[in-house]
Amino acid sequence: MLQTSDVTSVKPQTDGRRERYLAAFRWMLLARVFEEKLASLYRGGKVIGGVFLSKGQEALSAALGVALRKGDIYAPLIRDSAGRFAFGESLLDAARTCIGSRLGPMRGREGNIHRGKPREGYYAMISHLGVMVSTVSGGLVARRFKGVRDVVGATCIGDGGTSTGSFHEGLNMAAVEKLPLVVVVANNQYAYSTPTSQQFACADLVDRAIGYGVRGHKIDGTDPQACFDVVGEAVARARAGEGPQMVVADLLRLVGHGEHDDAHYVNHALKVSPIGRDCLEVARAQITAAAWMNAMQIDSLRDQLQAEVESAFATALREPLPDPNLEDWRALSTEALAEGRA
């Protein structure tokens, strides 16, 4: 029986640490720059529908992205720009989806965060929270049938998403099947406007792990090094066949739920507490303290990423928009069985 004492405390891995950190940092920074651009396009009316940003969550998100490998399964959620890029999503595909380009992977049929390339192991979330837990598990069951080893499937969820029946059913099922699943819970203190006090009554979400018979890991989500270490360890344990891992990171959403939301409801005390730290600032400090990069190098990296982002959006914005006349208006892949009536 797992006891709460099994909850992992940070056990830093030291070899290749600098490289891993800097790789992850690059994705964090790219995500931030990408999202700032996206927000400005949204304000300029160039983005239709919702825009959901991850400011403050980039370290956690990147941590998972870099811990996964090609061949793994990854089902990110709302606030995972960093993880998506780290897992291999092209900047252009991200930009295209947000802009609605016909050439993007979602072809204007879906927008913003609802993107993915399932056959590449990069699953596309539906909005209904929690459902990806069982879906990733299903992907892992398929790998098991095929005799594929060394694979990990990971998905992300928020504090609010843990209240869904889907989350419960999925994690319980994965535990029964002892699948190499990693569930990363970003406890960013709010689900839209709802504080955790109205979402759950346990002292800590990681306490749920024991009730599923899975290993729980806890992190300060504002500490990039801790994120990389702990998420890395969880992924390694899953890969090693230790069964599902549940990682809970405490952090604060530093933006609104979406860009339409001014987040006035966020408790000021949280903002000024350590949980309100910007992980990107912390990363900058950790990097410069370790003398891995200096401030100028970071700034120039940022400039470079900024240029990449600008160029991706510039391309996406020039691309053709979806055209109803070019659509086949067919939900089935089996053409012969489609009705196509209106």
């Binding site: 239709i48 529908g49 204007g108 109803p324 208006w329 067919r330």
Partner: protein, 321 residues
């Protein structure tokens, strides 16, 4: 002072809370935040303890409402989007809807579904789910198309002793304005002739009413008089008013924003065909959304759903049939 469809829904709830201590509201972010669309804005403050934030648990939200209703309360459940009500559907169709029939116990819950498409909404924030709920016995399914109905039908819904699925259309939230709140209203279950005519009938509901009216307006320029019937409730369905209109016009087009297989348009056409066959001077017609999920990009969305232009196209066909 103009009042929007959304404000009417807020005002109805304010009145319900003020008038009836049995009423409370439970939903995601409905409390201090006032709801994702602000349909409960200020209500938590005005009615302390009676507008409660729920966890993201649609099944439990409805379950809670059912228990409270058994004990005599009049809960209003807000789903953040109609699309997420699939997660609470089991409690609605199998628990709330069967309660009276099974146990002779009334189950007066109102489930508010912000439904229908808006630009950029995409497959999971745009659905019209009335067909799913109307299929199951034991539910009342309301679809207000006007500011006045949004207000009066929500008040009526909460007074009804049975479970009500209240489909409010997000596209109308801000687009639709009225001068004042109504003081009287048609009873629940009655359809309304929104525009009289004699050449053909359009039967429709919710946001499509306005596309239909625009079509009628446009065709009036050519001298056609199109009657438009606003169903108001899709269950019960006011077959008499529909048949009355078809008796006058002889021609029927039924327009809905939902998916094409089954649903309201099929039910209306089937009722007219079975009960008013001889009234028809031409084959009845249906216009629905396309048989794919609702697309995100407005370029596609504008073709996926019926629009005034599409309705005009269908109507010209019908008038010449």
């Amino acid at each position: 002072m103009a009042i929007t469809y959304l404000e009417a829904i807020r005002e109805a709830q304010a009145k319900l809370l003020a008038d009836d201590p049995r009423v409370f509201i439970y939903g995601q972010d409905v409390g201090n935040f006032g709801g994702a669309f602000k349909a409960t804005k200020g209500l938590a403050k005005e009615f302390p303890g009676r507008v409660l934030d729920s966890p993201i648990s649609e099944d439990a939200q409805v379950g809670l409402a059912i228990g409270a209703a058994i004990e005599g309360m009049r809960p209003i459940i807000e789903m953040q989007f109609a699309d997420f009500s699939t997660c609470g559907l089991n409690q609605i169709i199998n628990h709330a809807a069967t309660m009276f029939w099974r146990t002779n116990t009334k189950c007066p819950i109102t489930v508010r579904l912000p439904c229908g498409g808006t630009a950029g909404g995409g497959p999971f924030h745009s659905q019209s789910m009335e067909a799913l709920y109307a299929h199951y016995p034991g539910l009342i399914v309301l679809n207000p198309a006007t500011v006045e109905d949004a207000y009066s039908m929500l008040i009526a819904a909460v007074h009804i002793d049975d479970p009500v699925v209240f489909c409010e259309h997000k596209y109308l939230y801000y687009h639709l304005k009225a001068d004042a709140l109504p003081t009287e209203a048609l009873p629940i279950g009655k359809a309304r002739v929104a525009r009289p005519g004699r050449d053909a009938t359009i039967v429709t509901y919710s946001a499509m009413l306005h596309e239909a009216l625009a079509c009628a307006e446009e065709l009036a320029k050519d001298g056609w008089q199109i009657e438009v019937v606003d169903l108001r409730s899709v269950k019960p369905l006011d077959t008499d008013t529909i048949l009355g209109s078809v008796a006058r016009t002889g021609r029927l087009l039924v327009v809905g924003e939902a998916f094409p297989w089954g649903g309201v348009t099929a039910e209306v056409v089937a009722r007219v065909a079975t009960e008013g066959f001889s009234l028809l001077d031409a084959p009845p017609m249906r216009l629905n959304a396309k048989d794919t999920p609702v697309p995100y990009h407005p370029n596609l969305w504008g073709t996926h759903r019926p629009t005034a232009r599409a309705i005009i196209g269908a109507m010209r066909e019908l008038l010449h049939a």
